[in-house]
Symmetry: C2
Subunit: 248 residues, 2 copies
DNA sequence: CACTATCCTTGATGCAGATCAAACGCGCGA
DNA sequence: TCGCGCGTTTGATCTGCATCAAGGATAGTG
């Protein structure tokens, strides 16, 4: 891991990269100005825990850049990832003081934080914020339910293919590319993190990735760099119907 | 199944049983009156499908009485339950036209429906509704994530114990009883539905229930009537920490 | 009353994925 | 340059749950 300080530029909301997708997406200029009065930025290094489950939270916020995971852990150490936080995703729950999950940065990460009390107060008065947060939460709920099908009913191979197709699709949207033909991207997760996401062991993840590679569904270089020659094929392997099951 | 018509009394919002927990919980009298202009009731029989995945939805609504399930199905027939709808739970997603899941009544059921367009329009103008829906959606998201841990990391025995403890706890809150010592309730689901919830086969569900009975964790009469002599013991079997992991 | 349909239980067997174990490759610091 | 640590791969073996198969209990029906 390169340890030089990531260049970090706190910025105005007006030219924020995640502005159109984050909680503040619907806010007008006045509302943004109000938000900025209790806004601050924080950076985290790859591997750093951002929030411990059970901790008191005094902020909520959005991921600006980087990737974080949301995980639950049982007493005996079994862990399950329950969410993957990408740029623009929201962290924290207005109206609740304790954190329900561990949040860990898997890459260097920048968060746009809002002090919790003022944010809650503003949310009560600003329908735009509550409305946007509702949309985002409904999307997350759909994603969680999609994931329940993966966890409950798919085979190890299908699970891996599902994860790859999600990452590929997300990466494509983020970079404004289409979802067809050849796709190339980097895995943002270790084998262990993938296992935690999929309810598998890291050995099984490794084996199934090797199998998909052997069968020509994917190619990979340097363990993390993936090429999908035929996305439809990957979708088939995931057990999804061809259109990706995306709803409007 | 007794086929006589369930007595059904459509009623005013003011004396509605689920009023304080449903989407309309925060509405004042004026808002309730407005809601009533595009409200109607529908009844369904046990086993009836309320909504087919992919169908166009022209209403949203709340379960008034009875129980329904939310399920996803893969092309080859594998199914996963992704939600259990109890009285006061919300059905449908404002802003989306197609249904994402099958909704099936597992008992006779009454729904309070709102025509979708007027509801969406009112929601845009009535912060109370969007705020309440946000709270409810956040709760569902937490439940879904809790369930991801169950699906991804728990053993069959733990899964069954988890399901039983959820039903027991929910039943206790519904009937204003405490969560300690002996608890008695009826299973609202068939073995097959439990299997679909837990990502198991119905045979495994049956075996594990028998095992829990044999080990004295539960007693049961007539296949569906459950007595839990010691709730803490059940929680242990579920692999949860003793307090039930409930957050404020 | 037998007849049928559901729902449930129990048994025998097989297999997908967990577990245990070893070793590889690469970047980094000494 | 060597060696160490981490992420990863691969192999051997074990096991929890699925699968296949049969039969029991209960309620509704002709």
């Amino acid at each position: 891991m390169v340890k030089e300080k990531t260049a970090f530029v706190p910025h105005d909301c007006v030219d924020c990269q995640i502005r159109h997708r984050a909680v503040c997406a619907k806010c007008d200029v006045t509302e943004l100005e109000q938000l900025e009065t209790f806004k601050y930025y924080r950076t985290y290094e790859a591997g750093q825990t951002i929030i411990w489950s059970g901790d008191r939270m005094d902020f909520v916020g959005s991921v600006v850049s980087g990737i974080a995971t949301l995980t639950q852990t049982m007493e005996d150490g079994r862990t399950q990832m329950v969410g993957l936080l990408l740029p623009s995703d929201f962290v924290g729950r207005p109206g609740r003081d304790g954190a329900a999950y561990d949040v860990v940065a898997t890459t260097d990460l920048v968060m746009c934080c809002f002090r919790k009390r003022p944010f809650e107060k503003m949310m009560a008065q600003t329908p735009h914020i509550a409305q946007r947060l509702l949309e985002m939460t409904l999307d997350e709920l759909d994603a969680a339910r999609e994931w329940m099908l993966v966890l409950g009913r798919k085979t190890a191979r299908e699970k891996i293919a599902s994860l790859l197709s999600i990452i590929a699709r997300r990466d494509a949207t983020l970079n404004l590319r289409g979802v067809d033909g050849e796709m190339v991207f980097d895995l943002p997760l270790t084998r262990e993190a993938m296992a935690d996401y999929l309810g598998l062991t890291l050995e099984t993840v490794s084996r199934q990735i090797s199998a998909l590679k052997r069968d020509g569904v994917i190619q990979l270089e340097a363990k993390r760099h993936v090429t999908v020659p035929d996305f439809a094929r990957l979708m088939e392997e995931a057990g999804d119907d061809s259109d990706g099951g995306m709803l409007v």
